[in-house]
């Protein structure tokens, strides 16, 4: 967490903590792990009441944040969500909200953005292929009479089955010459579309997964016709938008991971003081103490880099993408180190279904690979520095 917080931000945090305690602590989340949505009743609306989907949206469009720096505020909420393994499409809803706020048409803002902010609809982000590798373009758009046809399949789509709206990123590689002037000047870069899940040819399939606290699925598009009014931003010109969305997703998912790491670590620290072996608390043995010291260093360093990334993206710094990738790479590795390190300290009890540590391991591991694995982000860092792939 950022150590510099305003009183309003403290209040925001307290409110999030209180809500989570009442509605969705890990016990509840565990009970929900077999349901379709994975969410408590009316979870979206109730969290929307707390402003969870409004903070990246300007007041003019019904949004607003407590400090005027929406991403920093949202990162505080994300951390508390991570602590208690909160379910729901928190990251994708905010990504879609920011996309529509920045680039959406008036109609998209009126029809969809307002209901996202109010938690009345579930919108999600479909951007990677079925392998889960971060490459916009798993879906292709081709221009057709009066619009576009989308085809392809996206993987790792959060809440794919419950979503009513999909922000789809499509590669637009081939542009037939006969396409009208409205599509002239297309650079061949990605295009983003806001597509209703009910459109003909869209099919969402629920998947089971390692993470029991969040729902993922695939969405396939079979010659889905969409009108030009569904384009978000410029045709062929969405590269920068996708980059911005990625940065938001990275900051929020890293912040969730930090919360989860800190909570898991704290459980483990307490256990090491309570658990007695050889007539002493196990935390008094140097072998155990050093594992905890190293894990706590990873939590502190993770918080430091997460804060740096949040601030960089909030400020729109030119190197924000790089810092966000650093945070994702570093925290992604540290999350797994901590999840596995804590297992060791818990001994046998930690290996049981009833114990929460595997819920954290699952969530943290999913978070580590979602939106780009640490290795993927390290390669991206080299490319952002123009380190040539071929020397």
């Amino acid at each position: 967490m950022d150590l510099e917080r305003t009183n309003d931000q403290e209040l925001l945090r307290d409110t999030a903590v209180k809500f989570i305690k009442e509605t969705g602590d890990p016990v509840t989340v565990r009970a929900l792990s077999t349901t379709t949505t994975g969410m408590p009743e009316k979870y979206l609306q109730r969290t929307a009441d707390l402003g969870w989907y409004a903070m990246l949206v300007p007041e003019a469009f019904g949004g607003g944040s407590v400090s005027g720096e929406g991403l920093r505020d949202l990162a505080i909420v994300a951390e508390e969500r991570g602590r208690a393994l909160q379910p729901g499409p928190f990251v994708p809803m905010n990504v879609v909200a920011t996309a529509l706020a920045r680039r959406g048409t008036d109609a998209q803002r009126d029809e969809v953005l307002a209901s996202i902010v109010a938690g009345e609809t579930l919108a999600t982000w479909a951007v990677v292929g079925t392998s889960g590798v971060w490459e916009p373009g798993a879906v292709r758009a081709t221009a057709t009479e009066g619009g576009f046809l989308l085809s392809g399949t996206c993987g790792a789509v959060q809440d794919a089955v419950c979503a009513e709206w999909l922000l789809v990123t499509a590669g637009t590689p081939v542009w037939p010459a006969r396409v009208s002037a409205s599509t002239a000047g297309m650079s061949g870069g990605p295009t983003q579309f806001l597509v209703p899940a009910s459109a003909t040819g869209v099919e969402a399939t629920a998947l089971e997964g390692l993470d029991l606290t969040q729902r993922f699925g695939t969405v396939s598009f079979r010659d889905v016709f969409v009108p030009p009014s569904s384009v978000v931003g410029e045709v062929g010109g969405a590269a920068e938008d996708v980059e911005h969305q990625l940065q938001i997703a990275l900051v929020l998912s890293v912040s969730e991971a930090i919360g989860a790491m800190d909570a898991l670590f704290e459980m483990t620290r307490t256990y090491s003081i309570d658990r007695i072996a050889f007539g002493r608390p196990i935390g008094s043995f140097q072998g155990v103490k050093y594992q905890l010291a190293d894990m706590s260093l990873a939590v502190q360093a993770g918080m430091a880099i997460a804060t740096a990334a949040t601030r960089a993206v909030q400020a729109g710094q030119p190197d924000a993408g790089e810092v966000a990738s650093m945070a994702k790479a570093w925290v992604g590795d540290a999350a797994i180190d901590i999840a596995q390190g804590c297992f060791q300290v818990f001994g046998g009890i930690g290996f049981t279904w009833e114990h929460d540590s595997h819920l954290y391991l699952r969530r943290l591991t999913m978070g580590s690979v979602l939106f780009g694995s640490p290795d993927w982000h390290r390669e991206r860092i080299c490319q952002l520095h123009d380190i040539e792939v071929r020397s």
Binding site: I305, A308, W330, D375
Partner: protein, 424 residues
């Protein structure tokens, strides 16, 4: 700081600093300034320190030395923001670089003296420090006491209004160039070890003090062993109360672990260029396109930036009142763990080609030297293990390791340790 005085306007202060720097100091060459490579020989170190002294004098004369230090001791008595503002303005200028004295003198010893020495001593001593005339080394470790600093055996005995010191110190960095040393001694042997310690400031040219350089693993004579034979120091050089040296030690340890530095309180700037030294090594080895090498480059670059971000976080914690040796230990442990990893990455990327070099090519031994020096920070100033003890016990509140030497008189500890059986 005198609160009745009004502070200079920050914008004017900044502007004046910029103007003064432009007039008096040299810009840093924009080319890769890491050209300071090669072995730190006695000659090299001597020249480096002499250059730094001259630059420090300029700062002092310009009123930019000891910006936060008390006016009565020759400082400027300004709040931290002014120091940060000056550091920011000075970013692209050549500033005095005293090698390890940057930390031993300016970050550790002298700030501790400011807290614990007598005002009379400080009034004559500190202005000379600020002018670059006095450099202070650390006479802490001994052949039989390193991590266990409270176990020192150098003896100080009172003789009228002076003290007589006998014993041996070791690993004292750059002591052969120091003017003074901050020395930990035992003044009472009949009480538990933490309760019989006293600190002194000792002039290095004292009669009876012999300082001998020791070569480090690189071959550089970067630290010394120091023999104290009836070295007499006046009581006025004492730092803190007699037998209350452990209190002084604690404030020393916080600083040694790197808390409370103005530079850290500056919000870290961007990550900057991708590890230029390692990229150059990879290019030279023809490995820049290798995906495994690229992973290592980005890993080193990320770790470097996380270390800076962590330094900033610790400075924030310190500013919020968490001046705890354990919290400071995070930054030290991070460096102690990741510096050797970075040095190793250098060797892995550069390969055999960098493990042999033509002595005529300047800087060709950089990877090898960095590799050897990579371990330094894991040991010097408190080992990684001591940082883990500190974090575990002081920050995480884990129960302490059972100890066998803290409650009995130090005399007995010495006798018992020879046949210690794990029972008492």
């Amino acid at each position: 700081m005198n609160t009745t005085e009004t502070l200079p306007d920050m914008n004017i202060y900044r502007e004046n600093a910029r103007r003064w720097l432009a007039e008096h100091m040299d810009q840093r060459p924009s080319s890769d300034a890491s050209a300071e490579s090669g072995l730190a020989t006695e000659e090299f170190l001597k020249k480096k320190i002499a250059t730094a002294r001259a630059l420090q004098r300029k700062l002092f004369d310009g009123g930019y030395s000891g910006i936060t230090w008390a006016k009565e001791y020759g400082g400027q008595g300004l709040p931290l923001e002014y120091d940060v503002a000056f550091l920011e303005a000075a970013e692209h200028y050549v500033m005095p670089d005293f090698d390890t004295f940057n930390s031993t003198t300016f970050d550790v010893c002298v700030p501790v003296m400011l807290e614990h020495s007598s005002p009379e001593f400080l009034r004559s001593f500190i202005p000379k420090v600020l002018a670059g005339e006095l450099l202070v080394c650390q006479f802490f470790s001994e052949p039989s006491a390193g991590s266990d600093l409270a176990g020192v055996r150098t003896r100080a005995t009172r003789d009228g209004d002076q003290w007589v010191i006998n014993g041996q110190k070791i690993w004292s960095t750059l002591a052969q160039f120091a003017d003074w040393g901050m020395c930990l001694t035992r003044t009472n042997w009949d009480v538990p070890k933490h309760r019989g310690l006293t600190w002194f400031a000792v002039p290095c040219d004292s009669a009876g003090l012999t300082i001998r350089p020791i070569r480090q693993i690189t071959g550089s004579p970067h630290f010394c062993e120091d023999f104290f034979d009836d070295v007499a120091v006046p009581d006025g050089y004492r730092i803190g109360e007699v037998n209350n040296g452990w209190t002084v030690t604690q404030s020393m340890l916080v600083r040694e672990r790197g808390a409370a530095r103005s530079a850290d309180t500056m919000s870290p700037t961007g990550p900057g260029d991708l590890v230029p030294d390692l990229v150059a090594a990879a290019r030279k080895a023809g490995q820049l396109a290798d995906p495994v090498v690229r992973q290592k480059l980005a890993r080193a670059h990320t770790n470097d930036y996380v270390s800076r971000a962590l330094g900033f976080r610790i400075a924030q914690m310190t500013a919020q009142g968490d001046l705890n040796t354990g919290v400071a230990a995070y930054g030290k442990l991070f460096k102690g763990v990741y510096t050797p990893i970075r040095a190793r990455i250098g060797v892995e990327i550069a390969g055999a080609g960098a493990m042999t070099w033509d002595p005529a090519t300047p800087g060709a031994d950089a990877t090898a030297l960095a590799y050897l020096n990579g371990r330094l920070i894991s040991i010097a100033g408190g080992t990684n293990e001591m940082q883990r003890n500190g974090i575990g016990e002081r920050v995480l509140g884990l129960p302490r390791e059972p100890s066998f030497d803290t409650s009995k008189p130090f005399n007995e500890v010495l006798l018992d340790s020879a046949h210690w059986n794990g029972k008492d």
